[in-house]
């Protein structure tokens, strides 16, 4: 057996305690019941019941394999690095529950070159630009004037609104768009025809912050629950 120098005893026992503590922490913090202590912030509206693994799937291989692969990548012995711990969360993760055929602004549409300039202002190719997770809210954009990036030239034939869309755009009243139209077109409701009937901005902001839905309670598509999503994996 190794002999421990009396002068190194503290270091030795300190190392043992460190390894035991580290192992215990690793075990405890990877339990489902301790999700909230690991999370960087409370989940967004509607996501409260999700487990970490719903978005943060384990990366391929075990930790040692991942370390080895990334060292190999760092020294040029491998073409690509690998995810460490968990896989990166991408749009695909969101779409597994939220994808629907009638999305008015699906993320993939904005990959087309013609949206290059618009995407510089607001990256609509990814959900988290507007729906940053772990913020305990629904929508996280700083300003609701994002329609201006694509709809500057909009003109409506036989405009049904009492104040024309053209006039609203010329006056740069971009916040009014969202007071009639929900971005993803997922609500069933009659779009107002009078400016006085539009949804007040306070109600919209409250909705963005996680409050009640001012557009309609009747939705065209309901996103999958955690259980529903798990069933799709079984299939």
């Amino acid at each position: 057996m190794f002999k421990i120098s009396p002068l190194r005893k503290r270091q030795f026992f300190g190392s043992i305690i460190g390894v035991v503590l580290g192992g215990t922490m690793f075990y405890l913090l990877t339990l489902n019941s301790t999700d909230e202590y690991v999370s960087i912030g409370p989940m967004n509206t509607g996501h409260e019941d999700l487990s970490c693994f719903a978005c943060h799937a384990d990366a391929k291989g075990n930790l040692l394999q991942q370390v080895q692969s990334n060292i190999s990548y760092a020294v040029g012995a491998r073409e690509e690095g690998v995810d460490f711990g968990t896989q990166d969360v991408t749009v695909d993760n969101c779409l597994q529950c939220h994808d629907r055929p009638n999305d008015r602004h699906p993320t993939y549409r904005f990959s087309e070159p013609r949206f290059k300039e618009a995407v510089k202002h607001i990256d609509a190719t990814t959900c988290i630009t507007c729906h940053t997770e772990h913020k305990e809210e629904r929508v996280s954009v700083a300003s609701v004037n994002y329609c201006m990036n694509c709809h500057q030239d909009l003109e409506i034939e036989n405009d049904p609104l009492d104040k024309s869309h053209k006039e609203l755009i010329s006056k740069e009243s971009w916040s009014t768009c969202i007071q009639c139209h929900d971005f993803h077109g997922n609500h069933k409701y009659d779009v107002p025809k009078k400016m006085s009937d539009t949804i007040p901005m306070e109600a919209i902001q409250n909705y963005f912050d996680g409050g009640g839905d001012p557009y309609s309670q009747d939705k065209k598509y309901i996103a999958l629950s955690l259980e529903g999503w798990l069933k799709t994996l079984d299939k």
Binding site: S5, S69, L95
Partner: protein, 269 residues
């Protein structure tokens, strides 16, 4: 103590290395030669798209309308009992492809679109000017997104294209005629060359997209409450109030396009 450290390092390195790395994803395809350039593959799939859209526009929308079938841009709405217009049929195919693991992008645009959001801008607008002159495909590399991009001419090949666009309340041009260059399809793919397997996967993802949107249309018909439902089977609208099943529709596409596509696929370099 030095022995302890050395031993621990040796054990640590052995444990680390003995696990092996995470298998490289490319290992499955290694040894498989990339035999098609991305331009060739996109030309192949664009050809399939031409055939599919023309068949849908002429044989389903054109003939279907004469049988009293309806096609509408709001076809997905609950209170609208209709099928998808050709542009929306293509949008449906594109959506289905994006849901597949195949990283293929497909878009439709024009300089006079019905929907202003489909108007070409920037590089696409410049290349579309060229397409209007010679109708030849245009290729470029989109540096921002690191995607190989191709544009192919979209010609008014059926009366239904012309009449619908000319008569649409939101149209920005009302003198379209048969044979006009109405727009272009834009395709994107991340790699500059593809293996045989990847090429077939691209073609299959397009075919699956066609089936998906067509099945959606048939499901829509199933839910019709007031309109007369066409009989779905082996017959086409040209014969009466009939619609082909998705399999029959796809078979017809394959019959028309298979020779050209097979010719490409059979080439060995």
């Amino acid at each position: 103590m030095k022995i302890i450290y050395k031993t621990l390092m040796l054990i640590g390195t052995t444990v680390l290395v003995s696990c092996g790395g995470v298998p490289e994803e490319k290992s499955a395809t290694k040894g498989t030669e990339n035999i098609f350039s991305v331009e060739e593959v996109l030309e192949m799939v664009a050809k399939e798209n031409d055939v599919t859209r023309t068949l849908y526009t002429k044989a389903i929308v054109g003939k279907g309308k004469s049988q009293g079938m309806k096609f509408d841009e709001d076809w997905r709405k609950d209170d609208v009992e209709a099928g998808p217009l050709p542009a929306l049929f293509l949008r449906g195919v594109a959506t289905s492809i994006r849901k597949s693991p195949i990283p293929l992008g497909l878009y439709l645009g024009s300089d006079f679109p019905v929907n202003a959001a489909n108007k070409f801008e920037g590089k696409q607008a410049d290349l579309f000017d060229k397409i209007k002159k010679d109708q030849k495909p245009q290729f470029f590399y989109d540096e921002d997104q690191k995607l190989h991009t191709a544009m192919f001419v979209d010609i008014a090949s059926a009366g239904a294209c012309v009449s619908c666009h000319n008569d649409h309340p939101q149209t920005t041009k009302s003198d379209w005629k048969l044979g006009d260059v109405m727009g272009a399809t834009t395709w994107q793919y991340p790699k500059d060359s593809l293996t045989y397997k990847e090429t077939v996967e691209v073609l299959n993802s397009y075919a699956k997209g066609t089936v998906d949107i067509y099945v959606e249309y048939l499901n829509e018909i199933e839910a019709f409450k007031e309109s007369e439902k066409p009989e779905i089977g082996n017959k086409w609208p040209a014969e009466g109030n009939y619609l082909p099943t998705a399999e029959v529709f796809l078979d017809s596409v394959k019959k028309i396009s298979s020779y050209e596509t097979m010719k490409h696929l059979m080439v060995t370099k």
